[in-house]
């Protein structure tokens, strides 16, 4: 998942980037509203964290322009003052959630996960597909109750496919969202991850959870079960 962090305070920006990278997210950074506007429009972003008090173009205006341009990724706003006028203005402009500075990283992680989950159309953080259980909150996958050992890239590939199960996802799209901007796009590493995931999720080869759609990419095929 690729996150865009828009924060003018360099120290905070790099700390947030570092902390979120440790959570296996790919991070793009913008230091002002102008840069943020460009990156949001041009880069394959899955979620943006936007400080409201930005130089050049303020956070609310950036969000308004993104939404006006048809950008749909979830947006989490950060506000220093924490007053309701700012929060409501930000949410009204098109943001989906807010966090008041200072905040705990755990809270930030939880909000980011919840927004990505909600954007993927999942009401709960625990998704059940037959004998496969995925905990979006803990970023863990279990097969018939047994925890599976997935690498961060393998997990991110699976999560991205689950969140976009309504359509085939191309290798290019997966690469853009799972790797840094300057990653070598010709690599066949995505095919390798898909192969490994298929083996781990479906050792017997009966379920076929990830289907290859010829000429279009991959699609997660299993249907989610409702809890309870």
């Amino acid at each position: 998942m690729k996150l865009l962090i828009v924060e003018d305070e360099q120290k905070l920006r790099s700390q947030l980037s570092q902390a979120l990278e440790q959570q296996a997210y790919k991070i793009e950074q913008a230091k002002d509203g102008e840069e943020a506007l460009y990156m949001g429009l041009e880069y394959p972003i899955d979620l943006a964290i936007v400080d409201l008090g930005l130089p050049k173009i303020n956070g609310v205006e950036v969000i308004k322009r993104w939404r006006k341009a048809g950008i749909v990724f979830p947006i989490l706003i950060l506000t220093a003052r924490g007053n309701w006028q700012d929060k409501v203005e930000g949410l009204d402009a098109g943001a989906d959630d807010y966090l008041v500075k200072p905040f705990h990283l755990e809270e930030l992680f939880a909000r980011v996960k919840a927004l990505i989950r909600r954007f993927g159309g999942h009401a709960s953080s625990e998704l059940i597909f037959g004998n496969i259980t995925i905990d979006l909150s803990a970023k863990q996958v279990a097969l018939s109750g047994q925890s599976l050992e997935l690498t961060a890239y393998e997990y991110n590939t699976l999560e991205y496919l689950i969140h976009h199960s309504d359509k085939p996802v191309s290798k290019k799209e997966l690469t853009e969202h799972l790797y840094d901007q300057d990653y070598d796009r010709d690599s066949n590493v995505i095919e390798v991850f898909i192969g490994r995931l298929r083996k781990k999720l479906d050792p017997s080869g009966e379920l076929n959870p990830i289907k290859t759609v010829r000429g279009q990419g991959y699609r997660f095929e299993l249907t989610k079960e409702t809890k309870g």
Binding site: R81, N83, Y98, E106, A123
Partner: protein, 464 residues
């Protein structure tokens, strides 16, 4: 018709007019009456003096006796029952004798007149006297007549005129005078009322405009006022604008201050959180140290947040604008539904269209934002918002079906507003901020159990 109040300018002017006009009319009437009476008497005196001169002209001395013709040229002296008659009295050293009387004096009780008042020669006396039931003017003139032998004889000519005609004339004059003066006074009072209304109209307009500003229906005094009031209205407008601009300036300054303080606090919190995540790499004492700093950092944040909120908060000022509750409430609910979209909350809004908050928009947002955020956070599925209000009152309640609160918790939450620095780490300051705003605007906050099962927060304001 309203009762005249001495505390109003209009009342005072009306009372002054009601006292002054009759007084002026009374003095005027007395003066005119006096002037007319004097003029009437003088005219009467002149007329009687002429009659006396006519008598004297007709008189002739014959030996030692004064002779006058029986028939006089003035017919009034020749007719019985005439209002005018005359007598001539001869005055010796001891006695006075009527030596002549006009024909008109025949039916008068001239014996009751006596010999008249003795007067020095050449002296004229004009007075009134009663003869029987009638009142008469009397003009006496004492003269000396020299005979051919050089003897000087004293006589007194006396002319009488019944006062009835003169009194009637005076009465008619007075009637006309009082009717006219009464009419003029009444017209002046009515005119005065019209002038007062016209003169005080700009002040009444100013009062209406001020009232609109006080009720928050207008931003400034925008009417057209006379020159005498423009200095005052200009000053009031400047005061309102100055207050508004100053509050806006405070808000910007505090926003900058918040940004400046909160960012370093956020960096510290982020560093400490990062350290906590990697707790395995630290010794126990290092972990305690990190926790202590994190706790103090959180406390600094709470105090800064709370004090910044307090600093920017408004109060029940006379020129606060009225902000309609409904659009603000709907906006916040819509924003919170987005944030708490997982919970699918059912929010019932029952808000009277005219219900408004007379204060700062930021304060209203804080008030509703904090209360609704709590309701969304703790409520399970249902939230009821009821707002009733008029130009002078506002009552609203927000209730949820969450776990609610114990009586102790309710008491602590409200009391904490007095000292935010005593708040325990992790406790929110939302309700304390709400309580502060309510107190600043002279309102009342009540925490109760909701019929939905959770907490019911009721707030009431009275702007009167």
């Amino acid at each position: 018709m309203s009762i005249i109040s001495i505390n109003s300018i209009r009342g005072r002017l009306i009372v002054a007019s009601l006292i002054l006009l009759p007084l002026v009319c009374g003095v005027l009437a007395w003066s005119l009456d006096k002037a007319y009476s004097i003029s009437l008497l003088q005219s009467q005196q002149r007329q009687m003096l002429l009659q006396t001169y006519a008598l004297m002209a007709a008189a002739e001395i014959e030996g030692t006796t004064l002779w006058l013709p029986e028939q006089m040229t003035d017919d009034q002296l020749n007719q019985l029952s005439s209002d005018t008659f005359a007598i001539v009295v001869s005055e010796s050293s001891n006695t006075s004798n009527v030596i002549w009387q006009s024909l008109s004096a025949s039916d008068k009780l001239i014996d009751s007149i006596g010999n008249g008042k003795p007067l020095p020669t050449g002296q004229l006396n004009f007075s009134t006297m009663s003869i029987g039931l009638e009142k008469y003017f009397i003009l006496q003139y004492a003269v000396e007549w020299e005979t051919d032998l050089g003897q000087v004889l004293p006589f007194q000519f006396m002319v009488f005129e019944n006062r009835a005609a003169s009194d009637q004339q005076l009465f008619e004059y007075r009637s006309v005078l009082w009717w006219w003066l009464g009419g003029i006074a009444l017209s002046l009072v009515l005119l005065q009322l019209v002038i007062l209304r016209w003169g005080l109209h700009p002040i009444e307009g100013l009062i209406d405009d001020l009232s609109a500003v006080q009720q928050g229906k207008a931003d400034s005094l925008s009417g057209r006022y006379p020159n005498e009031l423009t200095v005052m209205t200009g000053s009031i407008n400047q005061l309102i604008q100055h207050e508004s601009k100053q509050r806006e300036r405070y808000r910007h300054t505090l926003a900058d201050l918040a940004h400046s303080i909160k960012n370093p606090v956020a960096i510290i919190a982020s560093v400490l959180d990062g350290a906590k995540i990697n707790a395995k790499q630290q010794s126990q004492s290092e972990q305690v140290w990190i926790n202590d700093i994190a706790e103090q950092n959180e406390r600094i944040n709470q105090i800064v947040s709370y004090q910044l909120n307090r600093a920017v908060g408004g109060s029940a000022a006379p020129f606060n604008k009225a902000i309609l509750i409904k659009p603000v409430c709907e906006k916040i609910v819509s924003a919170l539904k987005k944030v708490y979209s997982d919970k699918s909350m059912q929010v019932t809004l029952t808000i009277e269209e005219e219900a408004s908050f007379r204060g700062d928009n930021g304060d209203l947002m804080e008030l509703l934002g904090n209360l609704l955020d709590n309701a969304f956070k703790y409520g399970r599925q249902n939230i009821n918002i009821i707002v009733k209000g008029s130009a002078t009152d506002l009552d609203f309640s927000i209730e949820d079906n969450g776990p609610g609160m114990s009586d102790n918790e309710k008491l602590q939450l409200v009391q904490r507003g007095e000292r935010a620095d005593t708040a325990l780490p992790g406790q929110g300051i939302g309700l304390a901020v709400v309580n502060d705003i309510v107190v600043n605007y002279g309102g009342q906050l009540l925490l109760d159990n909701s019929s939905l099962g959770g907490l019911k927060v009721s707030i009431s304001f009275n702007w009167r």
